[in-house]
């Protein structure tokens, strides 16, 4: 059964499908959360939030997924937990600090952030292997001298120019996608 079958059935709020999804995926989600500073209660909360996010999104835009439903749900739950863990940090830099108190608005933001992540990752997959390698190191905030040591580039200047070009290509691809208009920060 492909992932979209589960999406459709889940949107019907069929409890048998929910039980099946829980049985199959909750242990992995729980294991991830326990290994990352959470407890069983957090895992149950995140599992529930993940399913609700998927159902709400499907109700509005009837989206499709290319891989398995299980992998998709687990990715959503991991992201929700990653979001939760980062929430105690400053949400954004001093440029615009926003505190969201309304639970439903916050859920709405989480969903839009998820969609933005999907767009970025999809576009990242479209750039060349060489660009992927260098940008992965760059976005992990690897120091330039270390990037030089790990790649075939001869100097920091060459790496800097390469990063510049690869980032330009990636941002062009993102901006060209019509989904970006509703996801970009103003």
């Amino acid at each position: 059964m492909d992932g979209n079958f589960f999406l459709q059935e889940l949107a019907k709020e069929d409890s048998r499908i929910i039980t099946q999804i829980y049985d199959k995926n909750f242990p992995s989600i729980k294991k991830f959360i326990l290994l990352n500073s959470g407890n069983t209660e957090d895992a149950e909360d995140i599992f529930q939030k993940g399913l609700i996010q998927i159902i709400i999104r499907y109700k509005k835009e009837k989206f499709t997924i290319s891989g398995s439903f299980d992998a998709y749900l687990i990715a959503i739950c991991k992201n929700l937990w990653r979001r939760e863990l980062n929430s105690h940090k400053k949400r954004v830099t001093n440029v615009e600090k926003v505190e969201v108190h309304d639970e439903y608005i916050d859920n709405s933001y989480a969903l839009i952030e998820q969609k933005r992540q999907e767009l970025f990752i999809e576009k990242f997959a479209e750039i060349t292997g060489n660009c992927k390698e260098i940008l992965t190191l760059f976005f992990a905030k690897t120091p330039y001298e270390e990037i030089v040591a790990k790649t075939e580039y001869s100097s920091e200047l060459v790496v800097r120019q390469r990063v510049f070009k690869c980032k330009k290509r990636l941002t062009e691809l993102i901006k060209k996608d019509k989904r970006y208009n509703s996801l970009k920060e103003l």
């Binding site: 829980y22 290994l35 891989g67 992998a71 954004v92 830099t93 709405s108 510049f164 970009k184």
Partner: protein, 267 residues
């Protein structure tokens, strides 16, 4: 955008500007909207493509935020109830299954004591230790790949997660023929072989991975230790654990704990 502007944004995001430079930059992006857009996009990329962080949305299209918020407001309570009901029934079933299992174990222990049977079953204990340490979740295979291999990756991962290791191996082997630089595939292969009792093949596959140029090839040592544990070759397992600890390889803290557990077990 010029390279200079790009460097300025990057230095801001890496916290490498002085306070004065930082304030100048913040002033500049309130006036220069083009630079501001570039800065915000780069900031989101930094946060999104770095697994330790998360990119929060703040000032985006409010219509979409409100539309989703309305849907959450109208449906969340009902959905929570449906999910809770569906999962509570399941939790109860699991509890009953566990209770039945523990009752059976308790009965077996009492029986063993009554007939003066030595209650420690060596193989069960090693298997239990293996299960306790075989808990690392492998990265998903299905993200960031081209569509041509997506189907095989999905099937490999699905079968692996469902513990259909023999099936998983069919896809993993096929994928490794075209992509010899995918570390995750080597790990899926080694674990699948370990779980199906093909210890020699798992060992050979891990040796290839360990001696490869892949950046995370050191992970191979941890899975080799698990392989020897599963095969109940404790001497080799301990040798590999010592290598992990000595070189501070992947999971070195876990390796220390496992070594201690094995030490206790042997005594």
């Amino acid at each position: 955008m010029s390279l200079e502007e790009d460097i300025l944004i990057e230095r801001f995001l890496r916290n490498k500007l002085s306070e004065e430079e930082r304030n100048d930059f913040l002033d500049k992006i309130t006036i220069d909207l083009d630079l501001r857009e570039k800065f915000l996009l780069e900031k989101q990329l930094f946060e999104t493509l770095n697994e330790k962080e998360w990119s929060y949305a703040s000032k985006i299209n409010t219509t979409e935020v409100e539309e989703y918020a309305t849907l959450f407001r109208d449906n969340s309570d009902r959905l929570k109830h449906v999910i809770q009901k569906a999962t509570t029934t399941q939790k109860r079933k699991v509890k009953i299954r566990r209770l039945t299992f523990f009752s059976a174990v308790a009965a077996a222990v009492i029986f063993a004591v009554l007939i003066n049977f030595y209650p420690q079953d060596e193989s069960f204990t090693i298997d239990e230790i293996y299960a306790n340490y075989n808990t690392d979740e492998l990265p998903s295979l299905v993200t960031r790949n081209s569509k041509e291999v997506q189907k095989d990756l999905t099937l490999a991962e699905r079968n692996f997660k469902n513990k259909n290791y023999k099936e998983a191996l069919l896809y993993v082997d096929r994928l490794l023929k075209v992509d010899t630089e995918n570390s995750t595939l080597y790990l899926y292969k080694a674990i699948s072989l370990t779980e199906t009792g093909e210890f020699a093949m798992s060992e050979a596959s891990l040796d290839i991975f360990i001696h490869s140029d892949l950046v995370d090839s050191e992970k191979g040592y941890w899975y080799k230790a698990l392989l020897y544990l599963k095969a109940k070759d404790l001497e080799k397992c301990e040798q590999i654990l010592q290598i992990i600890i000595k070189n501070s390889y992947f999971n070195d803290q876990k390796a220390k704990r496992l070594l201690k557990d094995l030490d206790t077990y042997e005594q």
